[in-house]
Symmetry: none
Subunit: 181 residues, 4 copies
DNA sequence: GATGAATGAGACTTCATTCAT
DNA sequence: AATGAATGAAGTCTCATTCAT
């Protein structure tokens, strides 16, 4: 409900009606409406982070580009498989209050750090051209996020073919960042 | 104030105190708190849209890439020159309610359409390689937006050198989408 | 209402109904139900303290015993003239919470100190026999308070003749503490 | 717990935690929180009343004054030996609700009646001077109560020497009410 | 007999909006 | 045109009590 209607538009009354429990029961399990939201958000953010790992460049590992493709595909299927999750962390939780913003911020920092590390590593291995990893990391994340928002909130991308979406994004990223040849 | 504290955290009491008028006076000029927010948002969105034009490819015009660079630079200076504006339309207005979301949505549609048109045009002129303009338009917008958020809300990019930021983003976009050579 | 029904039994709903104002109006004038109670109690305690002065023993002043009699009479008319006041500070505010208890305590300390000072002074002047002023002060205050409670809360003393009540109490106190003859 | 924190501040949750039983068990033994409080208060009031007897003036009995002294001493040691009891009936139960007030009232009526009877008897025997026994009974009880409150709740009488306290009070009472010599 | 999850009436408080002045 | 006291719907939270297990 938080995802669908937003935090403020969702009252405790709505929640308990949907859950089919009494008011008191709600407060038996959650300290406050805010605490429930925090719990939901934490859960969802954890679910996202679970699917994001650093690129494995050890000898014998899957080629980095394939790993990257798998990653992007996994992210892009989230709008379809877990639309609420996407709606929540890309949309509803934004600008809610300082505490939530801080949580979202630290989430992004971890994602950025992970991406940055992959970029730096890629550069060292000759897979990524020289670039400012801080800026490029944000740009890459932004690319994926905007497409996810279009799929989930805006619903203005009729295309649900995750593979094509991923390829398109990767072509953009590859052509730009990865050394061609 | 909406930008700094968010819609819900900003009360009519705060607004009239800041404005130095009485409660009744506020409602003389705005139908509701919501109406004020709408007005503010419209104004700010208009200010953003004003700086975004389609690429001019008529004979004798500035080279397309230079126009694009100017565009991106203009966007990337917004966080510094008008942080409130950026905060508002990239952050605070997000997920507020259906009406505002619709407004933000239509704003994005216009931006996407503009970008898409430039891409299609570029492809026709041989400046842009074949690609899905819908997806790539969103990705490009997302890149810029994420960097803007990092500059405004997150403040995790110490770099205030707009030109370098723009070059980095354009290199990413160019290398990937525009035909090199 | 606090005096008549007690703090907990008096809801904000009762108060605004009695006052004939809306809920919001109540909170326009008082921060909380508690704040109203504090205000009421302060006002009433101040009203009591106003009538209590130290005995004036300067040359030419009214005889000390007459002053005392006037004092006691003033106190004993309170149950009739301001029953709510008495009910409140002798009954309803007792044991309400720590903050209120502290307020009541400090009130009593001032009364005790005043009484004690009069006793010590009286002893110095030969009007009061040797005694422990701390204990006797409390005993004297207790005598008056209990009679007041009987008049206000218990209503088990049909006698509303303040002068007789005062005389009776003073006879008890005089005979005991003041030097006879 | 009622004595220490007050009726309203003591929740059923606190009680069952302290007792180490489940919620349901509590309601197996007491109809309600109120019923428990009533039971506790009754028990405590009974304990006080147990120590209060009418003066025995039969030939050969202990001198009346000695009996009185023993009585007052017994009362004044309560704050030390059973502070909770004193706190409860002199403080926490006051003004709680009509039913409790009625209980407290009837307790006081019995005490007053007992005291009154002793006074009347004393007068008949020439031990007590002529006085209004209703008023004086209340005053005497009030003296002792106030000192007890100072010892228990206010803790502003450092003196724990029960004998001295009793003597001081008796001197006051004797000098005033009892025929000297 | 004991349990404790569930209940829901009701308490306090907020704040966008109105309207008589 | 300006004011600001008054409004009241709606929100969050508490806690004594119940009842199926």
């Amino acid at each position: 409900m938080f995802a669908a209607r937003g935090y403020h538009a969702t009252g405790v009354a709505d929640i308990i009606e949907e859950a089919g429990v009494a008011r008191g029961t709600f407060y038996l399990y959650f300290e406050s409406k805010r605490a429930l939201f925090d719990a939901v958000l934490d859960e969802q953010l954890a679910a996202v982070e679970e699917g994001i790992h650093r690129v494995d460049v050890s000898p014998g590992a899957t080629p980095a580009l394939d790993q990257l493709r798998a990653h992007v595909r996994w992210l892009l299927q989230l709008p379809e498989t877990r639309p609420r999750l996407v709606q929540l962390f890309l949309w509803e939780a934004v600008g809610l209050d300082e505490k939530t913003d801080a949580k979202l911020d630290s989430f992004h920092q971890r994602i950025f750090a992970l991406t940055r590390r992959s970029l730096v590593l890629g550069t060292a291995l000759g897979l990524v051209r020289e670039c400012d990893p801080d800026i490029v990391a944000r740009a890459l994340v932004g690319m994926v996020k905007e497409v996810m928002v279009s799929l989930t909130v805006r619903k203005d991308l009729p295309e649900p073919d995750v593979d094509r979406l991923a390829d398109e994004i990767l072509d953009l990223a590859t052509g730009g960042v990865l050394r061609l040849e």
